[in-house]
């Protein structure tokens, strides 16, 4: 008993084929959209590669790019098949290809679904990667003379200005690292030497932040040094002053930014997946109804199309047996000494009398 059977007249079949041709071309466009979404995500992740520690973040954009390209190819082929299906003679060309094509497309749509769901699962990895990456970047902020790290200062400054954030979790992260290089510290001054000596590791720590942490919306000129010292500045209270520096941490800012991008991309991919699935269903109905037409031999007759010929369980069982027998094909039957012909009845014809010849004795 077939799964979801639908009766198709000739005109209905033709209309379905034409509709599927158009939908397949639309699917080519959605494939291009998938490809460009993958490229966009890859570019966005690569832009801030300096601030991210090594994690498996490239898998999602790579998957989207490959899926997009394959979608274009598959749907182009599908469009061609559906275009030819209007004419029953041309259908014969594709008859043998259609079922493998449908199975491939089914597994391919599964991979689209996987790609869409992966977009939502990256949150934890992203947070970890950003946390570690930002910590390292802030640590090497002062090393503008070390090759390989000389651009980190610029990257961090531009990041803090663009995303309106300061430090990793907050602006206090800058109090715990030395972000002023020793090249610019006057070691002859007593204040500098005192500060270095008072720290266990000999680091020059201060309650100041780089200029990129300054909040543009502040009504007063930026206070970036001695931020916790209320008496150092007129009419200033560190506890209540909110607009002086950016309050948000950069890890949270970047995480929000990337989460927004990933959620939008994930939603788009899921919608595209639903669309591909509906196109696949249409193609399956078209294939089964045309096969039934061909079986009956009359191109004008009404035929039935379905998703599965027997019920879901029965189809699964038959397919499983086919796969099992594929495995058995390669096995040798050891019971008959490896001779596959040993139990087969003889079908040879021995002349008009049909008397089998006597075996001649071998001269010893």
């Amino acid at each position: 008993m077939a799964v979801l059977p639908v009766k198709f007249t000739k005109t209905k079949r033709d209309k379905l084929a034409q509709l599927l041709w158009v939908l397949n071309w639309i699917s080519v466009v959605t494939g291009i959209i998938l490809f460009s979404l993958g490229v966009f995500l890859k570019v966005e992740i690569n832009k801030r590669q300096d601030l991210m520690a090594e994690r498996q973040l490239q898998s999602v954009p790579n998957l989207l790019i490959s899926v997009g390209l394959i979608a274009c190819g598959i749907n182009f082929l599908g469009g061609k098949i559906c275009y030819d299906c209007v004419d029953t003679s041309k259908f014969l060309r594709w008859k043998l290809v259609m079922l493998p094509y449908i199975i491939c497309t089914f597994f391919f749509t599964l991979s689209i679904l996987v790609g869409g769901l992966m977009c939502y699962s990256l949150h934890g990895q992203l947070e970890e990667s950003l946390g570690l990456g930002l910590r390292e970047a802030m640590r090497y902020y002062k090393d503008t003379d070390t090759p390989g790290r000389c651009f980190l200062k610029r990257t961090v400054d531009l990041l803090q200005i663009q995303f309106q954030c300061c430090g990793n979790e907050g602006h206090r992260d800058w109090f715990q690292i030395q972000w002023i290089s020793n090249r610019y510290l006057d070691m002859s001054r007593r204040e500098v030497v005192d500060r270095l000596r008072s720290n266990v590791e000999g680091k020059y720590l201060m309650d100041g932040v780089p200029f990129s942490c300054c909040n543009v919306n502040s009504p007063r000129p930026c206070i970036q040094y001695q931020t916790t010292n209320n008496s150092a500045h007129f009419n200033y209270d560190y506890q209540t002053e909110e607009l002086n520096l950016w309050m948000r941490g950069c890890r949270q800012a970047l995480l929000d930014y990337y989460t927004d991008i990933l959620h939008s991309i994930g939603l788009t991919v899921l919608i595209i997946w639903l669309f591909e699935l509906s196109v696949l269903t249409g193609v399956r109905y078209l294939q089964t109804s045309l096969e039934n037409v061909w079986r009956r031999g009359d191109p004008e007759c009404e035929s039935e199309g379905w998703l599965l010929e027997t019920s879901f369980v029965a189809t699964a069982r038959t397919n499983f047996n086919i796969i099992k027998n594929l495995g058995k094909f390669n096995q040798i039957n050891t019971a008959s000494n490896g001779d596959p012909n040993i139990d087969r009845p003889s079908t040879a014809h021995y002349g008009p009398d049909n008397v089998p010849p006597k075996s001649t004795p071998i001269a010893s």
Binding site: I161, D186, F211, S212, V216, P219, H233, N235
Partner: protein, 345 residues
């Protein structure tokens, strides 16, 4: 003396109609592009309207928008006329429409050219507008508590960071202005009192700049106060230090940005102008060649098409005569003329 005479066979006429049909569609699209470019330019000017003193420069995007819309209409009608051209029955109804149509189209096309010229001519006006606007912006930087000026600080900070510039002509403009409000100055401190006394107008001037002048590309943490004092900072020479703060002024940065934008737009509008002119010329050729066919039994004869029947000067006078007559009609006749007229009647 006929201008632009050309013999057109029937085949050539058909090809002309087809080509003109496509060209008019292309020209409509180009009109839409011109309109979009005008809108884009206007939004760009409006974004920085706070540092501009006047809106004289807005005439360029306004002209572009009007021209874009008008050319879309003109090309739509050109397409319609072209569709009816080969049909001898439908073509005559466009006859009375054509003269004012050509007049309008030539006016709009010259307006396109004028818009491009304006964008180069208005450079001086833009520069002076920015000069005054930036000067005021820097002067009112500290007035974050005055309504109407409280966003100047934000605007100037954003501008300096985005365009990588500092001050009006250069960073030294900040040395001549008090950009730290009195609300944040400790008047009980001797240093503050000395500085204010030493200034004629009683202003607190420093050789420092706001944080938005800091260059992120600098290898060392930003030095924004006591910039000219080499001894105040370790290993620092004010004259050789180039990467510490942005050296260039915001006026030059903004003028360069806007002129670059207008140059690109000017290039695009010039090509649109060429396409539009070719549409009009082809339409005129088609119309004149079809007029020779009208009334003939055999539609497939070879006819002559031309751009102008008389010379350029005579055609201009022909067009301007009705306009001038309208202007004379509006003039009031003097009393002695009316007196002599009454005496004669």
């Amino acid at each position: 003396m006929v201008v632009g005479k050309m013999k057109l066979t029937f085949q050539k006429r058909v090809k002309l109609v087809q080509g003109l049909g496509l060209l008019s569609w292309l020209a409509t699209l180009c009109g839409a592009i011109t309109f979009t470019l005008g809108c884009f330019l206007k939004t760009e000017f409006r974004r920085r309207s706070e540092v501009m003193d006047n809106t004289d420069i807005h005439c360029v995007p306004n002209t572009l928008m009007i021209v874009g819309l008008a050319s879309m209409g003109i090309n739509y009608f050109a397409g319609r006329i072209c569709q009816d051209a080969l049909d001898a029955g439908r073509f005559p109804r466009w006859k009375t429409f054509l003269k004012p149509f050509y007049g309008c189209s030539i006016f709009v096309t010259t307006l396109m050219l004028i818009a491009v010229i304006l964008s180069y001519v208005m450079k001086g006006s833009l520069e002076s507008s920015l000069k005054i606007g930036l000067k005021n912006g820097i002067r009112f930087y500290k007035d974050t508590d005055t309504p109407g000026r409280c966003f100047q600080k934000q605007t100037i900070d954003h501008l300096q960071m985005e365009f990588q510039c500092c001050g009006n002509n250069d960073y030294k403009d900040w040395f001549e202005v008090q950009w730290i409000s009195n609300r944040y100055l400790d008047f009980s401190s001797k240093e503050v009192k000395d500085r204010i006394k030493s200034n004629v107008d009683g202003r607190y001037l420093v050789d420092g700049v706001p944080f938005s002048c800091c260059n992120p590309r600098s290898p060392r943490p930003c030095i924004q106060y006591k910039i000219t004092n080499n001894t105040a900072h370790y290993n620092y020479d004010h004259h050789t230090e180039e990467l510490n703060i942005f050296i260039g002024g915001c006026r030059e940065a903004l003028v360069n940005y806007y002129m670059g934008l207008m140059n690109t737009i000017g290039g695009v509008v010039l090509s649109v102008f060429l396409i539009q002119s070719s549409v009009l010329a082809s339409l005129r050729l088609l119309q004149t060649s079809m007029e020779a066919v009208a009334g003939q039994e055999n539609v497939e004869i070879e006819t002559e098409g031309y751009l102008l029947e008389k010379g350029v000067k005579e055609t201009l006078m022909e067009y301007l005569d009705p306009v001038l007559k309208l202007m004379w009609l509006n003039q009031v006749t003097s009393p002695e003329d009316t007196g002599t007229k009454n005496a004669d009647s």
